[in-house]
Symmetry: C2
Subunit: 358 residues, 2 copies
DNA sequence: TTGTATGCGTTATCAG
DNA sequence: CTGATAACGCATACAA
């Protein structure tokens, strides 16, 4: 009995999915058959049309449309070990500040045909770690993280898997990979110095608290510390009764105002760590007929749209939210493209905006 | 020469990735080897721990940790033809309304270990179609779309690929698959009837416009039509000079107020199609010393946080944003789970909230 | 410019 | 409860 050449096609025993089941999506092969080419040519026509003859491309396009073929990124990712998926993690999307960064980031990445996996950490490092793990399971081409403080496991995973990563909204001396933001401490410092220059003496500070279990975070802490340093550098002592905190919303801003003025009527200015709280306080002043800035000056942080609408317009710190997102995208794209000479830490700066509330 | 049994492992010619290249992520096989089991057992231990012996599971967990193994969803998706990825498309994330729906949706889906692909359409059907195609390429397990008006190709793709889909923020008589929302027309109708009941006669309406090229959308149109119908049903004629429109932001709300009152000083109430514009108008009234609601009453739409903070508090329509997102998630989960008896259209209702601005 | 052979890392299926 | 085998649908490497 003559030995046969090794069987090349081990006759598919068609075990899977050949019965009823859900309608199976079309494959490259079917498009190829209809267009009279090989699957790899279809693959090429879809990913890089230029390298396929125009006439061939036309037949393929027709077949694709007729069959209603939709690419399978999962199969592609497996074969190429590449994805066009980016993971971004923010503490919340209910804060327009984060939404604005996501927006800036999204626009730029979208132009380059990347898709965005959105993760919301609710200010929890534990949740963040789970999200990072999930995104890595998707083999995300890159990751964007909020802030510069992350769990050790997050850092380990990202480093060991060598995933391009950008941390935003802060400046880190030891970024996981890349970092784009501004110094929250310097920004708050600048505002307090500004208030001192305007002649205010008793300057209170209100820290916004967030999360389901109310707490602050690295950015908020940095702002408070910047404020304290400014007071010291201005020769003013630190008076703990001039510090308050509250949930990051309008009502808590109003409450903080009332609480502070209640126990320290000599307060001349209040610096809120967030525009929303400052706006809440401003409206409370209006209700009570307290003159701003004559009875008490009010400053915010963030320069949200509110700031120019409230009466009087709010003095605040403008942070580069949209620009941060955009820059993060640009850096990430460079990094994914293999450029190793991108700057590790990018300082986007900030501006103190003097308006009528101080 | 004795015939050998058929070679099972056709000696991998190790063509790919065996040289330098980036650090290759660990595979199931390596974990399996270290734990002394087969890869499929590791796979099972990771996906469904209960069906693996506790002792085995322990060894596997150890190996996973030591190696730093991270699952590969792409390979898993290919093999199982399933993903835990959901695509959600909203017109923008800068509007807290959409952010709130996403939030409600995200929380519920997150609990069930789904990941979210975020798409922003910028109110464009063309962009929406591209996003749907991308999400289908990811083989998303389900899709969430804003509104009930979509391009024909979107409907075709989703139907032919039989992807569980929920349209939210509207009620459709012919949903692509499922639909959860409320009637914008009825909601606006209810508000205008309410204003009429309060005794207002000349009631203006302001339509918010959105997108990079300013335009309205099905939801905004429905609100305006609801308002018109309410006027007709109240025996009032339609006076086109009582209609205005403007970009959806504070300033445009203020502008619309000024414009309307300028040309029609007899206006008694203005119904804004969005709270943000209404709040802008309210603040403008304050600046100008116009009494609200005595000189002019103001109503909004959406019941955003602002509504209770502005002075006077804003009469508005409360829409079930968070609940819509949550319900959409629940429906989608049922649908993905194979439940075919879920309701196709879910009406979440709305509430007219009477406050001090009317 | 197009095609052939092969592997990507996992899971469904069936057998034990 | 665990394992052997065969897909899953596509893209890389190389050849033509």
């Amino acid at each position: 009995m003559a030995s046969k050449p090794p069987t090349r096609k081990p006759l598919r025993k068609r075990k899977r999915g050949d019965e009823a089941g859900p309608p199976r999506a079309a494959r490259l092969e079917e498009v190829a058959r209809m267009a009279g080419v090989s699957p790899i040519t279809v693959s090429r026509a879809l990913r890089n049309p230029d390298i396929v003859a125009e006439e061939t491309r036309g037949r393929i396009a027709q077949a694709v449309k007729k069959i209603g073929y939709v690419r399978n990124f999962n199969a592609g990712a497996l074969a190429s070990r590449k994805t066009t998926t980016i993971g971004i993690i923010v503490p919340t999307i209910m804060d327009v500040g984060f939404a604005e960064v996501v927006h800036g980031f999204y626009d730029t990445m979208g132009e380059h045909n990347y898709q965005l996996l959105l993760g919301v950490s609710d200010y929890s490092e534990e949740v963040e770690e789970r999200l990072v793990r999930d995104f890595l399971a998707h083999r995300a081409a890159g990751l964007i993280l909020t802030g510069v403080s992350h769990g050790p496991e997050v850092r380990r995973m990202l480093t060991s898997m060598a995933v391009p990563t950008v941390e935003f909204w802060g400046l880190s001396r030891t970024p996981i990979d890349l970092c784009v933001g501004y110094s929250n401490a310097d920004a708050a410092y600048a505002m307090t110095r500004h208030l001192v220059r305007l002649g205010y003496k008793k300057i209170a500070f209100v820290s916004p608290l967030i999360g389901t279990v109310m707490r602050d975070n690295d950015r908020t802490r940095d702002r408070r510390e910047g404020h304290r340093k400014a007071l010291r550098d201005s020769g003013q002592g630190i008076d703990e009764s001039l510090f308050a905190s509250g949930r990051l919303d309008f009502q808590s801003g109003a409450n903080a105002l009332v609480e502070l003025m209640g126990k320290r009527p000599d307060i001349e200015a209040i610096f809120f760590g967030n525009d929303v709280m400052a706006a809440g306080a401003l409206m409370e002043c209006q209700k009570r007929g307290w003159a701003v800035p004559d009875k008490v000056a009010i400053a915010g942080f963030g320069d949200s749209e509110l700031a120019t609408v409230v009466q009087p317009a709010l003095t605040t710190v403008r942070t580069p939210r949209h620009a941060m997102g955009k820059r993060a995208a640009e850096l990430l794209l460079e990094r994914i493209g293999g450029n190793t000479k991108v700057p590790k830490v990018v300082d986007m700066g900030f501006d103190v905006i003097q308006r009528d509330s101080t």
